[in-house]
């Protein structure tokens, strides 16, 4: 049996599979269920300053090779979300508080509250492809990103992860800006901006028209991004994008990831997907003589 434990900055994880933000993580009960399904850590829904209802439906479409969504960052707001986090304080599972804001001040407030609520780390969502004023509009500006990350790092003691977008000209520059701001890890990638048009009504189906594409189809994009980023920075990378099987996770480790996040595969294989993927990683590592995740990280470019 290989050792599946991994370390991201000061955060120790029993296994390298994290629940990605936005999937079954808006309330305490859902996060409890996902932790019993074997996730090594849970990333919360992205939480902002105020309650936000998100976009009207349709908000998610299952296409041939992936899911297209434009939820619009629905969340109850940081103050109410504290109740959900507190319910989970007794559980041993690390919670990573995902947050989004329009400027450094908002991000600092959100990160400070997440730390108070007992989060083991925070993840900055600076990469949502479909939220006006938030997400990608923040994450595509290297100097603003640097300011946000460094302001947060001055105020909190838990690790700060930065989730970045592939919808940019140069993802490596963005990762480097986050590293310069003293980020503890990079999470790559968020969804890929896309659209689906209905032929009969001749209109985009998502109410927001554009959305973020996830699932199997985007795995090669994520692998390429992780491969490029991991070689250019000295902090860990958490790989995300289309991971459905243990071998998908292995591929991300080889590209340079120290852990992975899983989202759409909860739809493809059910909530127990974390158990399945850990087992598959284990079988593959045993068969190929690897004992630790760290032995695999970045072997594709070393």
């Amino acid at each position: 049996m290989a050792d599946l434990s991994t370390k991201i900055s000061t955060l120790r994880l029993k296994n390298p599979t994290l629940l990605a933000s936005g999937i079954m993580d808006e309330d305490a009960g859902s996060m409890q269920r996902m932790s019993t399904c074997g996730a090594g850590a849970i990333v919360t829904k992205s939480i902002g300053m105020q309650p936000k209802e998100g976009y009207a439906n349709p908000t998610i479409l299952e296409l041939e090779f992936g899911l297209l969504n434009a939820m619009g960052l629905p969340n109850p707001g940081i103050d109410l979300y504290g109740q959900e986090m507190k319910t989970l304080q007794k559980s041993k599972i690390p919670l990573i508080g995902s947050i989004f804001g329009a400027n450094a001040k908002e991000f600092v407030t959100l990160a400070t509250k997440m730390e108070q609520y007992g989060a083991a780390a925070v993840e900055l969502n600076v990469s949502c492809p479909h939220a006006k004023r938030y997400g990608l509009e923040v994450g595509n500006d290297t100097s603003l990103l640097h300011t946000i990350v460094s302001s947060i790092k001055k105020k909190i003691h838990i690790p700060v992860f930065v989730k970045i977008s592939p919808n940019v000209t140069n993802i490596v520059e963005i990762a480097q800006a986050a590293e310069k701001g003293k980020a503890d890890a990079i999470v790559a990638i968020n969804t890929v901006k896309g659209m689906k048009i209905d032929l009969e009504t001749a209109q985009p189906i998502l109410s927001n028209k554009t959305g973020g594409y996830s699932g199997k189809a985007i795995k090669p994009i994520g692998i390429r991004c992780v491969y490029d980023i991991a070689q250019s920075i000295n902090i860990p990378v958490i790989g995300v994008g289309g991971i459905t099987t243990g071998e998908d996770a292995i591929e991300y480790f080889m590209a340079g990831a120290s852990a992975v996040q899983i989202g759409s595969a909860v739809y493809y294989r059910g909530p127990d997907v974390f158990k399945y993927i850990c087992k598959e990683i284990n079988v593959w590592m045993d068969k190929h003589g690897y004992k630790k995740i760290a032995e695999l990280t970045g072997v594709a470019y070393q």
Binding site: M24, I60, L61, P76, I205, P271
Partner: protein
């Protein structure tokens, strides 16, 4: 692929004040208790339980209560809507003498289950509970199933004056009811649940839904049970462990809203 299938509305029928049934061609196999996501292009997409099932044609019955249902109400035959589904688990009929209790528009989705019970030659009793007789519908359709039908109105304008749950309590004492199926206001269903410790009980729950395919978490209750995928029908044993049942739901932002 799970994108809305565009279909043409075949019929629209006014059932009662502000309540309509629309039917459309949709040949996918559907079980009583399951629901569709109904896309009204340019307006919204909302979950609607099936209220009429034939091989090729399905129907939904709804009350005008907001932007989406107002738009749906105004649609005419030949207009187009998009359908995804059916989703969810549906009822699993049990017992030989079931009691069906529908509150308000909840009766709409119970009707196909009553018809299924008739096909299986079960002896059904039904309570249709409405505020006032102007909101009553499906009474004749359910009587045609050979079921014993009771009507309750809050204002006494027809049938038994009072709550459907009060009449249900009386019927449970007098008759040998051996299973209960219900859809309606959650506090009513919670009361009914408390009467059914010893017999099978199934209730159809309603929550704000977004993805309808079990990933976004919007409709979760208890310890992560997804109303869209693990439900919308939950049995008595499961409901026993769901602390939110009959207590609160959540709005589109995930805030708790007490019943």
């Amino acid at each position: 692929m799970n994108i809305p299938t565009i279909t043409t509305i075949l019929t629209t029928t006014k059932e009662a004040t502000d309540i309509k049934t629309i039917t459309f061609r949709y040949p996918k196999t559907t079980t009583p208790g399951q629901f569709f996501m109904i896309w009204i292009p340019g307006v919204d997409e909302i979950p609607m339980s099936v209220s009429k099932i034939t091989k090729d044609v399905k129907g939904i019955t709804f009350r005008k209560i907001g932007e989406a249902t107002d738009a749906l109400y105004d649609l005419k035959p030949e207009n187009k809507i998009g359908i995804r589904g059916p989703y969810g688990n549906g009822f699993t009929l049990a017992g030989k003498h079931p009691l069906f209790v529908g509150g308000g528009t909840g009766i709409a989705m119970l009707a196909p289950a009553v018809e299924q019970a008739r096909n299986r030659k079960l002896k059904s009793t039904i309570i249709i509970g409405v505020k006032t007789k102007k909101e009553l519908f499906f009474e004749d359709r359910l009587r045609r199933c050979g079921a014993t039908v009771f009507v309750t109105t809050d204002d006494g304008s027809k049938g038994y004056k009072g709550f459907a749950s009060s009449l249900a309590k009386d019927i449970l004492k007098k008759e040998k009811i051996d299973a209960m199926f219900t859809c309606g206001p959650e506090p009513m269903m919670k009361t009914l649940h408390s009467f059914c410790k010893a017999i099978p009980f199934q209730a159809s729950l309603e929550r704000y839904m977004k993805c309808s395919i079990g990933i976004c978490g919007q409709c979760c209750i208890g310890k992560g049970l997804r109303v869209c995928l693990d439900g919308p029908i939950f049995d008595g044993k499961t409901l026993q462990k769901i602390e939110d049942f009959g207590v609160y739901k959540r709005d589109a932002a995930g805030r708790k809203i007490p019943f």
